[in-house]
Amino acid sequence: MSRLFFREAIARAISEEMQRDPTIILMGQDIAEHGGSYAETRGLFERFGAARVRNTPVAEAVTVGLAAGAAAAGLRPLAFITYVDFLMIGLDPLVNYAAKLKFKSAAQLTAPMVVKATAGAKGQGPTHAQSLDSWLMNVPGITVLAPSTSGDAYGLLKTALRAPGPVVYIDHKRLFPLGGEVPDGETLVPVASAAIRREGRHLTIVAHSYMSLVTIEAAKLLAKEGIEAEVIDLRSVWPVDWDTLEASVRRTGHLLTVEEGQEVCGVGTEIAFVLQERLDGLRVARLGARRMPVSASPVLESYALPDAERVAASARRLLQRARQDDVAVTT
């Protein structure tokens, strides 16, 4: 184990994979000499050279299209989109070409590409703060990964760089300054493997990305009141590790989903639906951003987004509603 900053874990994963696989190339804004917006590609240009670490113009559409075409023709491109909001500009090649390529070519062509983007809010306002996870999950053929720790950033990015089809790997702005343990050997985090961050018996809280950390904080608040929350970090947003989730809710009987994106048609809505289908009588609640854009104003940003206090409040409400229902049933 070594302690690495989140950004260092990323750089190490990329560096090791580039060393192993000469077909990996990087493309993105300011990733070469500059070393990336979050210093997460620092050293890669110097080590692997200009042909494999390529700055692009501010043109997300062609960046994603380049990655898709290069992937179809034998490379393994890793395309950087600084803010996932701007992936909107490059969705056409990702969704209309890469995600459908294996299907439409009858497996003669595939698109083993990775789009690495950063989601979530940190004081940069409405067009630099969104989460598109649920859009991407909605599209057949796309894998969506989102770490919340240095170790998972390392393990998931390595997995992404060996995946057979398009992967969107999503960081969160608030993770970059954080440090964490990273295994010294090559430890990959497989697709569809959620992590139980904290065990508990009263309810299961499922989150991903930065909200996993917020949820752990919330669990600590709840513990002081005697509520033991089991916290699960999805890590792989799609495909979902349903078995781990199901086993947990079978133990706790209650599910709260937490995400930074919108609730409507969100990640949590999907998770709640499927788990309710698997476990009759499961009591669920969801929490996401308030239904508004996220402002750069610190006050409005925190107004819009879930925090530990709000997660804890949702958990309390869920358990209380359940108790009331139970009372109603017994009387």
Binding site: V62, A68, A72, A73, P93, S105, Q108, G141
Partner: protein
């Protein structure tokens, strides 16, 4: 401009164009031909391009792809099956005209999103550059695609990175009902390449020999490492936009298309050269007819695709 080609090669070009036209006619005779964009009037573009490209040179085309796929060498039976949604073609019936691909012969695929193939083609060219294959990637798109920002971004990156990319604009005069001048505010489409320093020429796309000559020049230069090129091939779409679109151009305009029919023109040229006479033409047509009949039979016998199998390829 006229490429000196051999007698045999001249006849091959003609036969190839005849096959493309007959194939599309056969497609329309199918009980359910489906939603198709045909290339009548644009055969010289397809045959000329594929005459010059090596099998290892990746070709990407637009939704108007049937002639291009045939000229590239997709077997006609398989292609017919593919177009009507049957298994038996290269993509097991899943692709249809707008998505047909056969990478084993360098056909990286049609793409149904107008201008959507441009950045993807740049990526394919990037892979050739990076893997040192020496291949030239050729991307064919319509005049309509020139209105899209994708062209700007692709020209820019291809010029910045000196990609081995040949951009071919198949200018058939219209994007559905919109004439080029109504959709793109430039004197000539080749002007769009100028700011990026990408050499560009406009040629007569109804003359298969001219297409071959221009392709040859461009491909040779790109293969020698000179970076991207742009060719505008001017031709006429002799039919309506698609099998589902009404034809609204005045019949006088349609009449005039005869003069630019690439097949009629080439027949006349070969006759003038003394390489073609009625008997020879009948022979070529008979060969084409035999091939088409076989293709029809193949397509008729082909099975429908299996959904479960398709689902596994997502």
């Amino acid at each position: 401009m006229e490429q000196a080609c051999s007698h045999a090669e001249g006849l091959r070009r003609l036969e190839s164009m005849l096959l493309l036209r007959a194939f599309e006619a056969a497609l329309l005779r199918q009980p359910k031909p489906g939603f198709q964009l045909l290339s009548r009037g644009e055969e010289a573009v397809a045959v000329g391009i594929c005459t010059v490209l090596e099998r290892s040179d990746p070709l990407l085309c637009s939704g108007r792809s049937i002639a291009m796929a045939l000229a590239r060498g997709v077997p006609s039976g398989g292609l017919l099956a593919e177009l009507i949604g049957k298994d038996g073609g290269p993509n097991k019936g899943r692709a249809g005209r707008a998505h047909v691909s056969m990478p084993s012969i360098g056909l990286y695929g049609a793409h149904g999103v107008v201008a959507g193939n441009l950045s993807v083609a740049a990526g394919v060219a990037l892979a050739q550059q990076q893997l040192h294959t020496g291949a030239v990637t050729c991307c064919v798109f319509g005049d309509g695609a020139c209105g899209a920002g994708a062209l700007h971004e692709t020209l820019n990156i291809a010029a910045l990175w000196q990609l081995p990319l040949l951009l071919v604009c198949d200018n058939n005069g219209y994007a559905v009902s919109t004439a080029v001048r109504q959709g793109i505010a430039v004197e000539q489409l080749t002007d769009l390449a100028a700011p990026f320093g990408v050499p560009a020429v406009a040629i007569d796309g109804t003359d298969v020999d001219d297409v071959v000559t221009a392709m040859h020049e461009a491909v040779t230069a790109i293969r020698a490492g000179s970076g991207p090129r742009f060719i505008e091939m001017r031709c006429t779409r002799m039919g309506p936009h698609s099998t589902a679109t009404r034809e609204e151009r005045p019949s006088a305009e349609l009449e005039r298309f005869r003069d630019t029919d690439p097949i009629m023109r080439y027949e006349q040229r070969l006759r003038a050269l003394g390489w073609l006479d009625d008997a020879k033409l009948a022979e070529l047509q008979a060969a084409v007819a035999t091939a088409i009949t076989a293709a029809e039979q193949y397509a008729a016998d082909a099975p429908w695709p299996d959904g479960d199998e398709a689902l596994r390829d997502v």
